[in-house]
Amino acid sequence: MASAKTLRVALWGMVALVAAIIGLIALNGSRQSGDTLALANFGAPFKLASSQGGELDSATLKGKPYGVFFGFTHCPEVCPTTLFEMSATLKELGDQAKDFRLIFITVDPERDTVANVKDYLANFDPRIEGVVPTMEQLPEVARAYHVYYKKQPTSDGSYTMDHTATLFLIDANGNLKSTLSFDETRDTRVEKMKKLLTGG
């Protein structure tokens, strides 16, 4: 009897141990896939009004490297500077970047319409495409890219926007490859773009 009881305890002990091991493996696995998910399919999916007409479906971006940048047309400095610098970089890269697309997503749909984003982007490289979410769509797409934005009222009753100024570089598989900050030098920008385009 005593030996049967010991056996039973030992068996239950093994069950508990195996359960614990399975649990740990499962937890670990989910953690790992969580990490990958954060960088894989970065930001996507979205389907939003485009400055080039119709909607831009993020699924159509896959297969080629692309960039994503959030801004607004009433932005006096960060946005035009980034777009001018990227236009210069794309010009410099020429054919090497012929399939590259840079998606400019407005954080100010209250003032930015598809038409005025289109006019605004006419100043820059044609590889830059504007996307105008609705006020309802904006929080979701911003969250997907981990982008912060906040309306700042000004004394004339108008407002300006604080926003994340990072440009995301995404590879052909939809994974976040690198980022360009506002302070990036021309050389670093070109180097990161070349790495993205060559898959290096």
């Binding site: 006096p76 400095e77 035009p80 001018f84 994340t164 100024a165």
Partner: protein, 160 residues
């Protein structure tokens, strides 16, 4: 000998004339103890409703002064903003009550820092254009200035 002298003099005079008449004159405006250096506007993207203007102001006096307002022809409204990067986030806020120019100090309005935000543009400012405007200070009063419009890609005016 005489001809050589005359030639030398002519040469010296032409060089001097070039220095004085060319666009290379240092663009400085004095107002009491204040010196305003080269006000400039960054050419905005065509169709943009906003632009930004910059300058550097020295206060050589013993008292602080305050830049209260700026007027720029072709912009219906101006505002002094401070821009700063907090990590990856660009933040802008209006400088309330004017921008203090401390005694004995220099304040720079430049990209990534303080700037004059120009709103309600009537027509786009084009590179090379001279735009009329004025600065008003609490103590030193008002002075007319010319802003030079500089290429959009520039982070500083042309070095003169």
């Amino acid at each position: 000998m005489k001809i050589t002298h005359q030639l030398a003099l002519a040469c010296a005079l032409s060089v001097a004339a070039l220095c004085v008449t060319g666009p290379s004159i240092a663009h400085e405006i004095k107002l009491g103890n204040l010196v305003i250096h080269h006000p400039w506007i960054k050419q905005p993207p065509g169709g943009a409703e906003v632009a930004s203007a910059y300058t550097t102001i020295d206060n050589n006096g013993k008292e602080d002064d305050t830049l209260l307002s700026i007027a720029v022809d072709g912009a219906s409204m101006t505002m002094i903003h401070e821009m700063k990067m907090e990590g990856d986030v660009m933040k802008m806020h209006e400088v309330q009550g004017g921008l203090t120019i401390p005694a004995g100090k220099t304040v720079e309005l430049q990209p990534k820092s303080y700037h004059v935000m120009l709103m309600g543009l009537k027509a786009p400012f084009m590179e090379g254009e001279e735009v009329k405007g004025s600065f008003t200070f609490a103590k030193a009063g008002k002075v007319d200035v010319d802003f030079e419009v500089v290429a959009a890609s520039a982070n500083a005016p042309m070095k003169h």
